[in-house]
């Protein structure tokens, strides 16, 4: 089920009503769990079995990992969990990709091998709930937190519908304690949640789907060599689309959870106002970046074993982070490019560390210089989106050639209206991110007078109704 659908509106109203019934907390949790399974099954019912399998294995393995004292048995249990979770992910998400690459290598060696193409359907949200359950068992192995006492709470932690399909990726200590005592949204939480839900839907439906997706699709699906203007506008359109689509989903998820009285972690913090790439990754898909940092970068050595090891850990983390997004080498290249940016940034920062003082840093973060750096970061991030959005390296290369302006006689593809839409929306996003970079949308909403907020909110709702975009899926569902 997707948030931008009539089905979800009806579903959510029913859930809110059930959540406010005078019944015990345990029954309310059972309601939420059943609702979460319905939410997932409404997409593709058979895949609910995978979700159950993952939940049951990790609940019992997690508990055994926490209590087991024999280090060999403990490692064995961890391996079971890793094989269970990552094996499932590998089969469904990377099965075809691995087979294709194997066939390519075998054919390169001169052996004729042409197996039938497997028809594997990717279960929605598998990358997200695999990471959710994986961090639980790893935490249990390291005894970082207490095991979840009840199967009901653990199932709800894994399956809670607002975060299930596309995050935010939650850690057990962030959500499990919230299931231990009864939670009903306060009046403030309810209206804050509804505002976030409206805003998230506006970002997704009006801006991402209504204004930008057609332009991005036209440019990236074109087989012609395009003019520089069309290529750049297409990349800007995708840059806006991917942010508005994914941040829109996260905003909806946080808003929906808040309406039920639960707090989910922030997932985006105005990433297009980031100054540099480490700042970008502190602001973009925050829960994935922190997951990769804690469960991949640090175990790989982090910054504790010298500069060379740090660079190695950084690059490997970004490459695997890229691969997490999709079974295609273009995603690996996307991650690799971000890794390269982070390398360069780290090198420059290490060199400047001794000469930079605090006052310089403040000027750089707030003034025109900071804005210039943010703009530079944004432009370089756009280069990475070319690899993220292109299906093949040849398409990505073709786009980069067009963007470089060296190609003469490129085809003019986009209408003036499409260009105007992008040229209004993208600068608006950048300016909004810059002025909001150190604050939160709910803080700003509460600072506004009630009637100004009412007018702004109604504008959002009217545009949402007027856009009449049908419920298209969120981009991150495919990851």
């Amino acid at each position: 089920m997707i948030f931008n659908s009539y089905t979800f509106v009806a579903f959510f109203i029913i859930i809110l009503l059930l959540h406010h019934l005078p019944i015990s907390w345990k029954f309310k949790k059972i309601n939420l769990l059943i609702a979460s399974y319905i939410f997932y099954a409404a997409w593709n019912p058979p895949f609910i079995l995978l979700l159950w399998l993952s939940t049951v294995i990790d609940f019992f393995v997690g508990r055994a990992l926490f209590t087991q004292t024999n280090p060999h048995k403990k490692k064995f249990l961890l391996v079971i969990s890793l094989i269970g979770n990552l094996g499932m992910l590998c089969f469904f998400k990377y099965g075809t990709f691995l087979l294709d690459n194997f066939v390519s290598v075998v054919n390169l060696l001169g052996l004729e091998y042409h197996p039938a193409t497997p028809n594997i359907i990717l279960p929605a949200g598998i990358s997200f709930y695999t990471f959710t359950t994986l961090c639980y068992t790893i935490d249990m192995y390291h005894k970082r937190s207490e095991p979840v006492k009840s199967m009901l709470d653990f199932s709800l932690f894994v399956t809670f519908f607002p975060h299930l399909v596309a995050g935010p990726i939650v850690r057990p200590p962030q959500l499990v304690p919230q299931f231990e005592t009864e939670r009903i949204a306060s009046k403030k939480q309810m209206f804050d949640g509804l505002l976030l839900l409206s805003l998230g839907l506006f970002m997704k439906v009006v801006l991402a789907d209504g204004m930008l997706s057609a332009t991005a699709d036209a440019v990236f699906n074109s087989t012609d060599v395009l003019s520089g203007l069309d290529a750049w506008i297409g990349v800007f359109a995708f840059s806006g689309q991917i942010f508005l689509d994914f941040a829109g989903y996260s905003t909806c998820a946080i808003g929906v959870a808040l309406c039920l009285g639960f707090v989910l972690p922030q997932n985006f913090n105005y990433p297009y106002a980031a100054i540099g790439f480490s700042d970008f990754w502190r602001r973009w898909h925050i829960t994935l970046s922190s997951w990769l940092k804690d469960y991949l970068y640090i175990p790989l050595g982090g910054s504790r074993h010298g500069k060379l090891r740090t660079y190695y850990a950084l690059m490997l983390t970004m490459l695997l982070g890229g691969l997490w997004h999709g079974a295609n080498w273009t995603f690996v290249a996307w991650g690799g490019l971000h890794g390269l940016y982070l390398w360069i940034e780290k090198y420059l920062r290490d060199r400047k560390k001794d000469t930079d003082n605090e006052s310089k840093k403040i000027t750089r973060d707030t003034g025109w210089i900071g804005f210039f750096y943010a703009l530079l970061t944004f432009m370089l991030v756009n280069i990475t989106w070319v690899f993220f959005r292109s299906d093949t390296f040849s398409k990505a290369w073709q786009m980069l050639i067009s963007m470089s302006g060296t190609e003469t006689g490129g085809k003019a593809l986009l209408t003036t209206l499409s260009i105007i839409k992008v040229l209004i929306i993208i600068p608006s996003i950048i300016i909004t991110h810059w002025f909001m970079r150190n604050t939160k949308v709910l803080d700003v909403a509460h600072q506004l007078s009630w009637w100004k907020l009412g007018i702004a909110w109604s504008t959002i709702m009217l545009l949402l109704i007027w856009s009449q975009e049908s419920g298209s899926s969120f981009i991150y569902f495919q990851f």
Partner: protein, 349 residues
């Protein structure tokens, strides 16, 4: 401020939103706008489900927009007692739908294929996009999408402003027709009065459209735009045409082998548009050869005096009143000349 709720703002938002939406709705109704259902993949898929009904109570129609305008479904039902499952899609080539039905072992029914030569024999990928999108949506539909479709129906039945093609934000922006750079394709705009979609996927021109020469000329201009565009397309090779004929024959044979029936129909067009079609797609080379290769019966409107001389308001589709007359004669031809039998008892749908 910490504990202040946004209740007052939410109430104001609700009041403003409801007020403006109602004003917009009343304004459109005063313009004479009637409901029109979004003819996207969900409605097409809902209709596609019905192809499995008994062939003794149902006929499936595929083709392009002419089929949707020219077949009056109410007349069809009243005269035959059969359901008309309308799967034609405007501006598109029906061959992908023919293939989808042929490859579906559960489809064993009666099929009428409308031939608009410029689209049926087209190899331009854009003409296949909509059918392919609809077929994919039908096969991949989730339970949530099915539920959303049924929740959407009462809203579309009530609010006339829910018409994405004509009254959505993007439709209104497109209407500004901001000039683009030379060589950029800009989709021409159809007036909203040209086409209203019923829930059974029947398309109909409004009376205002039929009686307004200015609006008719606007749509004639659209056809002129497309015909000029097609002049620059590379000509179809003999090999390419043969490949189309043979793919259609394969599909038709599959349906027939399961006990199904297939009939082709060439629905009316008129004026210079018809002349242009005749020049570009000579009857002997296309229509006659199609019937000969597939060994299927066909009804060409020019062969029957009762339906040979309609005046299409914009050269390409029948107005609502003519569609009723055409449908009545079409049924008569099916019964008297093609041996189709209909029972007047309503199907149990």
């Amino acid at each position: 401020m910490e504990n202040k709720s946004l209740l007052k703002s939410a109430v104001l938002m609700g009041v403003i939103t409801i007020f403006i939406v109602l004003c917009w709705e009343i304004y459109l109704r005063n313009l004479g706008v009637k409901n029109s259902y979004d003819d996207g993949p969900p409605l097409w898929s809902y209709t596609r489900e019905k192809v499995y009904q008994s062939p003794n109570s149902t006929v499936v129609f595929i083709g392009s927009s002419r089929n949707k305008f020219d077949l009056d479904i109410t007349t069809w039902k009243n005269e035959t007692g059969f359901d008309a499952v309308q799967l034609a899609i405007e501006g598109s080539c029906p061959r992908p739908i023919l293939k989808d039905l042929a490859d579906d072992p559960n489809f064993k029914g009666k099929l009428i294929i409308d031939i608009t030569e410029g689209l049926f024999f087209s190899i331009a990928p854009p003409n296949n996009e909509k059918p392919i999108e609809n077929i994919k949506y039908y096969h991949d539909r989730t339970p949530a999408q099915k539920a959303s479709f049924f929740l959407n129906k009462p809203l579309e039945s009530f609010f006339v402003f829910l018409d994405k093609d004509n009254f959505s934000l993007n439709a209104k922006l497109d209407e500004m027709e901001i000039p683009s750079r030379s060589g950029v394709f800009m989709m021409p705009i159809f007036p909203w009065k040209f086409n209203r979609n019923a829930f059974d996927r029947q398309s109909a021109m409004t009376k205002d459209f039929v009686n307004d020469p200015k609006l008719c000329n606007q749509v004639k201009g659209v056809w002129h735009f497309f015909s000029e565009m097609n002049k620059h397309a590379p000509p179809m090779s003999e090999k390419g045409l043969d490949a189309i004929f043979s793919s259609v024959k394969v599909a038709v044979d599959k349906i027939k082998s399961r006990g199904g029936e297939v009939l082709f129909v060439r629905t009316p067009s008129s004026g210079p548009y018809y002349d242009g079609e005749n020049m570009a797609f000579p009857r002997e080379k296309y229509w006659n050869k199609l019937l000969q290769i597939t060994n299927c019966p066909g009804i060409h409107f020019k062969d029957y005096p009762a339906i040979a001389n309609f005046n299409c308001p914009e050269f390409s589709h029948l107005g609502p009143e003519d569609a009723k007359i055409f449908t009545q004669h079409f049924i008569e031809i099916l019964k008297n000349e093609k041996g189709w039998e209909f029972s007047l008892s309503k199907s149990s749908n």
